[in-house]
Amino acid sequence: MTPLLEVSGLNLAFGQRRTPALRDVSFTLDGGQRLGIIGESGSGKSVTALAVMGLLPDNAFLSGSIRWRGQELVGLGDAAYSKLRGDDMTMVFQEPMTALDPTMPVGLQVAEVLRLHRARSKDAARFGASAEQIVDNARNRVLEMLTEVGLPDPGRAALKYPHQLSGGQRQRVMIAMALINRPALVICDEPTTALDVTVQAKVLRLIDYELRAVQAASLFISHDLAVVSQVCDEVLVLYHGEVVERGHVAQVLGAPEHPYTKGLVATARLDLVTPGERLPVIEDFLSSAQLAGGGAANG
């Protein structure tokens, strides 16, 4: 069976100087599977997501192969890509304040995503529904979705503007937008980083539940090992644009092989540090050669 998403030998560079951002990144994702991508800032997590969505900036040079159900996406035209975006693959962003339009009620924003999808799938023509019925159906579907993501009083919340909602509520709206069209793949780009810890736990549980409900696969980008281990089946560790380790979450985080992963795991386990001792840093685990190599890749 062809996997849902197959990325192989992906290389990405930016600008005139071709600063490399990804080097020979490969992974596959089956339907319903969840792959966590972890790594520090600048390791290439977010650009991997943008590359899959086909939304890289103009100065990006992409080579390699991204296959969606066997169809090659690298070099695909914008019109053909648009058929996938929003229907088959969607994205949840890190900062829900900036990812929602401040001048539009949130319910309308969710409705817009639904409406675009309906226009493409031509529901109206198929069922011969009148315009009023479509609007009515769309409204009900939006309210249903807002209820499902746990917005209190969805009827009223739908008419509010983003700044009138709390951070957690905004992220719930983002999740509603990402899942209302029942996509096959949801890319979550650090969806809980901007939230405080208690809200984070709730939103994670919601994402977990919703992904299961629509049986969507997910690329889950995070720098938080605890978050990844909670939500994902497998994990991919990126370091300076290279995949350094991949495997089941329990295996990678329980018995890391690559020194960088060892460092990541050790720095996250503060309970193992005896008081008064120096905290571990990732550099403790890397040889000087690896550090130098990383430095060169960064420059």
Partner: protein
Amino acid sequence: MKRSLSLTIGASLVGLVAVLALVSFFWMPFDPNHVDPASRLLPPSWPHIMGTDHLGLDIFSRILAGARICLLVGVIAVGIGALVGVPLGLIAGFAKGWFPKFVLRTADIIYAFPALLLAILLAAANGHGSVVTAMVAIGISSVPAFIRVARAATLQVVNQDFILAARTSATPKYTIALQHILPNIAPVVLVQSSVSFGLAILAEAALSYLGLSAPPTTVTWGRMLFDAQSYLFSDANLALWPGLFIALTVLGCNLLGDGLREVLDPRLQEVR
């Protein structure tokens, strides 16, 4: 909404002029074009509360009638500027390729022509000056400012996540431009409009003064200033009133612009 002193004063001044213009349609103490040599050059007194000019015309009536042209010029000129400039600026900030560069260079070229020169050109092409040529000239010369302001605001909005989010759900480009970018740059455009409004009124007064705008039968404040010129030292009253009203209107527009900026600019806004 936050209170702003400049907004209150500006809106009151512009509102006052609007009221004057409205009133002039229903009631004026005298016909603003009725020549009455018997009562020429009267100081402010009853029934001529602002006095009369060298032809015996009632100055208060002429101020009322002049308010119409003043507002008309502002509205039309700003309308031309905004309707042409904002879409071009939005596209220049949003699109890629040669078109944005073309728009910006063209704007630079128009910027180099003062409204005055443009009005003279239009009047010459038309055979004679009129309110319409003046309004069009002022409108065209205010286009580049709108282009630049709209483009700068668009560039700020375009790089935000919600535009990327709209693209991840394959929102068509024109929908992104109309539904997501336009409402977000609206405050900036509004501020620019009120500032341009003041500039347009000032420019029209200057054009009237030079005889490049309305014909003598049409009452404008700039024209009144021109007529008052030869009596400046004997009867300053004639120049005082139109000058005062032009100054107050322009001041009102600028204060309104500042006030709107204070109220609408999120960076100056208190944390909600």
